[in-house]
């Protein structure tokens, strides 16, 4: 009845959330705060794991793990690697 076999990228978001939380990079409360700050319409526009990766990223930037510039540069590089999720993996 669920009809949802999670995609690999979604499982990875889940894993990043759990691991980064366990390592103390952020708390679940920090994630929730970032989710709430996206506003009500984020719920309409984005899927569950889309919202979660945004919240994970927001918290990692705030924690100083990497900068927004590093993220932006990397996301552009990834777009140039290929047209699909599989093709965009590095190696």
């Amino acid at each position: 009845m669920d009809g949802h076999d999670f995609a690999l990228w979604e499982k990875r978001v889940d894993a990043l959330m759990v691991l980064c939380g366990a390592k103390g990079f952020f708390t679940v409360d920090g994630l929730r705060r970032a989710l709430e700050d996206m506003g009500e319409d984020a719920f309409e526009k984005h899927s569950y794991y889309e919202r979660w990766i945004a919240a994970v990223n927001q918290n990692l930037v705030e924690a100083g793990i990497y900068s927004l510039e590093e993220l932006g540069t990397r996301m552009e590089e990834i777009a140039a690697r290929g047209p699909t999720y599989g093709a965009a993996q590095d190696g």
Binding site: T27, D29, G30, R32, E36
Partner: protein, 77 residues
């Protein structure tokens, strides 16, 4: 509701309930949410009747709702 991260659902604000059980002390989520050093705050499970929450719109007034609420969101009556 005040802006920011608040761990008390809006539908419970200003409602009366009874403490079902104390749960111990946990780090205050409203500080953790902003990466602040968090005090430990007592956490309680509080039981509300549906009549208290929804008035005449309650499906069955004696059904209940339990929620976990921090000490600083509670006021003794």
């Amino acid at each position: 509701m005040p802006p920011g991260h608040v761990r008390a659902p809006a539908y419970l604000r200003g409602k009366q309930g009874v403490i079902e059980r104390p749960l111990g002390a946990f780090h205050n989520p409203e500080q953790l949410a902003y990466g602040l050093v968090a005090d430990k705050k007592p956490l309680y499970r509080v039981r509300f009747t549906m009549a208290e929450l929804w008035g005449d719109a309650a499906e069955n007034p004696e059904d209940t709702l339990d929620a976990e609420l921090y000490d600083h969101w509670l006021e003794r009556l």
